[in-house]
Amino acid sequence: MHTLSISELAEGLRARRFSSRELTQHYLDRIAAHDRALNSYVTITAEQALLQADAADAALAADNAGPLTGIPLAQKDIFCTQGVRTTCGSKMLATFVAPYNATLVDKLQAAAPQGAGMVMLGKANMDEFAMGSSNETSFYGPVKNPWDLERVPGGSSGGSVAAVAAGLAPVATATDTGGSIRQPASLTNLTGIKPTYGRVSRYGMIAFASSLDQAGVVARSAADAAYVLQAMSGFDPRDSTSVDRPVDDYVGALNSPIKGLKIGLPKEYFAEGLDAGSRGLIEAAIKQFESLGASVQEISLPSSPLSVPTYYVVAPAEASSNLARFDGVRYGHRAEGAKTLEELYKRSRGEGFGAEVQRRIMIGTYVLSHGYYDAYYLKAQKVRRLIYEDFKRAFEKVDLVLGPTATGAAFKLGSKTDNPVEMYLNDIYTIAANLAGIPAMSLPCGFVDGLPVGMQLMGNFFDEARMLNVAHQYQQATDFHKQFPQGFK
């Protein structure tokens, strides 16, 4: 059952070939059998999952079901779930239980027709407060890559991708601030999409960098991703930055022909730093697109070399502000025995936050300080504008931009933890889309030494339907995305 696509699962449930309870139990059994090796879940909600599955079965029997009703999923542990703890990968929130659901959680899990009626298997592991590219900053331990247990699954949505790649969930939610959906999808042979900023509500999603954070989905195909993205998108009056415009029919657009599609290849993305194996696979993929009727041209995104430094000013600045609320006063970790207010703050935050989070809070505090604000934050915002204008110009010429997602395949656990800058450079190809606010996705394009490699598609604002359509057409012609890691079959 765990190799079936979302549409096959939906059809199986409707045809009563299996019930949602059986399906859910199957995944819970697989989690019990395999997750010790992967550590992809921080919290497993077996009991609640079976109750949700029973409700879904009742809805299916009564014909009150939507296309996703009864299908299980993993929720990244950044989304608040009422009654189930939400840790955000941090010791700070080890015991935090939100009294509300994130809007996305309601949309996916509430019974149809208000929600999609999906079944939550548990909360997926992640880098602490989504800060990391390897899932090694989680207080709940690193996640292993199902393709090679000595390697990282990428981050920050490492738990989400490991669970889906290993068949411990059919699909998972994820978030992307600088590549946290796409880079891990690339490293685990998944399709992951970060939609346009504002397409999915951020309400109840614990903020890292508010102007960059965007929720999305990781799945085993573009079609699977389309179903789930369809259900989670939409305007939310509780999020002032969500956009009030109708959601396109992602599923309906999957099978449109892509003949005449214009693809741009940014020369800056194929320069030094890209691993040769990955380059070869992407070049092969480009040929595949041409054979599907697309045309290809070189473009330039001249400001892209500035993405990483710009991001490491903007994201930490917003993070230092967003994480100020974790002070040990109202909820979260509180140091014991503090004698003064200042000691309470310093020790609660010193004990509750890990090294990477502290590092980014310090960077962010510094760049916002009096006397440095103009030189760093304001300057970064100006560069951000240039990056946006690069894309604006590009989309006057081409429909999609194609390039690598990551610099190479998955790296070994511990190999980059001593050098934060090297770790930050992992996101060199993904960060620009967040800074510009445009949608971007990663999809599998082959293997190097048995390790999966992804390629990235970037689209114009709200062009998710076209991106998913193009990815789906590619996946109809290839079978990289169908490969499953040994040991988890």
Partner: protein, 484 residues
């Protein structure tokens, strides 16, 4: 004037007023903002800054800020931006306050105040920005710990910043009173200073008269009565002059006023001041006020105190003093206008009754005009009975007292107490005849030229009729009779 008291020194004062907006809910959440609720019963997930929650701007707060801006002839920003102001304190749940920094919603306005010598002075208003209030820390009754009440957290405020145009404590008070009256008039703020709806920080410095530059200023925080503001500023001026005259220098610092001693004391110096690390709040979009939006608000502005005062003088023929009294609040003015309209009586007569008799009763009963024991319609009813000569003005006072005591409407009381004026001339003549028979000496005296005795006869006749005789008729008939 006031400056002369300080021997060649001049004070330079700027005020920052925090004014709570009378919205139904908080500025960024749906929680209610009733004062005095049980601690933490009016704080939702957004106010508690739980993880993942987001602010959503209350449109009514924007409307009220614009309303204020227009009333002080200020500019309304086409585009204004919310910024985060960071500092750690337990009653500030997010670790930052959402405020406005570089782009406030209202800027460059002014307010004219009247000085004691009768002249008018314009005080510039630099800006007024929207922001959220913090919660309250409660240091008492928690056995050594501190309690946090977040009911107030997120209450909408405008912070109104004046130019340093104020030169004395008296001017500061005049400005504050004017501002207070205005925001209450506009329905922007309830003006309750005891509950902290309207509070003031005073920036004070001194310099030698004629000196080109301002001196170093101190900021005295959260002074919440007109009298305290006056005292705090007076104290601060004297203190600064004394420090400088004895060879010291003023430190730029934040000070606190102690109402018990009338003194201010240093709280923190500029060196310990927070670096607030302002930056635009990425959770909120810039607020765009279109010209149409601004014009619509302008069109719905109530008549402002000054315009109303001028109209009262012109239309009702009131003295400047009466006009000022009757327009001191919007409710009082509305009450007065209702009395004039409903009674059809002389507007000046109505003004006397409202500004003298009614206000005396309210004062005595400790009530607000909204809680008046006599409604405008009821008072109008009484004045109608004077106009139609059912009762005299003197009897009306008696009826009024009974109305104030809650004994019913004017007509009921007049009827129950038998106070209907005697206009039947034969009855009045009978009373006059009776008085003349009983007072032959006075009759003789009057007829011999003692005109002053006329008052005696009027008094006796009124007494005999229990004050109910129509005074005009009494005068006329008495004159006839006494003339013989």
């Amino acid at each position: 004037m006031a400056n002369d008291l300080h021997h060649g020194w001049e004070a330079v004062i700027g005020l920052e007023v925090h004014c709570q907006l009378m919205t139904h809910s908080k500025i960024f959440s749906g929680a209610a903002i009733q004062y005095g609720a049980e601690p933490n019963t009016q704080a939702c997930a957004v106010d508690l800054a739980l993880p993942g929650v987001l602010p959503v701007l209350n449109e009514d707060a924007v409307k009220k800020a614009v309303t204020f801006g227009l009333s002080v002839d200020a500019k309304i920003a086409e585009r204004c931006v919310f910024a985060r102001k960071h500092y750690f304190y337990p009653d500030l749940p997010k670790g930052y306050q959402i405020s406005q920094y570089e782009l406030p919603i209202v800027y460059e306005g002014h307010l004219d105040i009247e000085l004691e010598n009768g002249t008018t002075k314009t005080i510039g208003i630099t800006r007024a920005h929207l922001e959220e209030d913090a919660g309250k820390s409660m240091h008492e009754n928690f056995s050594g710990a501190t309690g946090i009440d977040l009911n107030r957290a997120g209450t909408p405020l405008i912070e109104i910043v004046s130019e340093p145009d104020i030169r004395s404590a008296a001017e500061a008070v005049a400005y504050l009173k004017k501002l207070h009256q205005l925001v209450v008039y506009l329905g922007v703020c309830d003006g309750n200073m005891q509950e902290g709806s309207f509070r003031c920080d005073a920036n004070v410095s001194v310099r030698k008269v004629g000196a080109p530059k301002f001196g170093t200023r101190t900021e005295t925080k959260n002074v919440n009565s007109f009298r305290y503001v006056e005292k705090a500023i007076e104290y601060e001026i004297s203190r600064q002059i004394e420090v400088i005259e004895s060879g010291g220098t003023i430190r730029q610092e934040t000070r606190l006023f102690n109402p018990d001693t009338g003194e201010t004391r240093a709280m923190r110096s500029k060196e310990d001041a927070n670096d607030y690390r302002y930056f635009p709040d990425p959770d909120l979009l810039p607020v765009v006020c279109t010209q149409d939006y601004i014009d619509a608000i302008r069109g719905s502005l109530p008549e402002l105190p000054e315009a109303k005062r001028a109209r009262f003088e012109k239309d009702f023929g009131l003295s400047p003093y009466d006009a000022k009294t009757l327009t001191s609040s919007r409710e009082l003015a509305a009450y007065y206008e209702a009395v004039v309209k409903d009674s059809g009586a002389d507007a000046k007569l109505c003004a006397n009754w409202v500004s003298t008799d009614l206000l005396a009763v309210l004062n005595k009963q400790g009530k607000d005009i909204n809680e008046s024991p006599i409604s405008a319609a009821a008072l109008a009813g009484l004045l109608q009975r004077i106009a139609d000569k059912t009762i005299s003005g003197k009897i009306a006072k008696e009826v009024f007292e009974a109305m104030a005591a809650g004994e019913g409407g004017a007509d009921d009381i007049i009827k129950a107490k038998g106070l209907v004026q005697i206009t039947d001339e034969s009855a009045i003549i009978r009373a006059i005849d009776d008085v003349m028979v009983k007072s032959p000496e006075q009759v003789a005296g009057y007829r011999a030229g003692k005109d002053k005795l006329f008052g005696f006869f009027v008094g006796q006749v009124m007494k005999a009729t229990q004050g109910k005789a129509n005074p005009d008729a009494v005068n006329r008939l008495l004159k006839d009779k006494l003339a013989g």
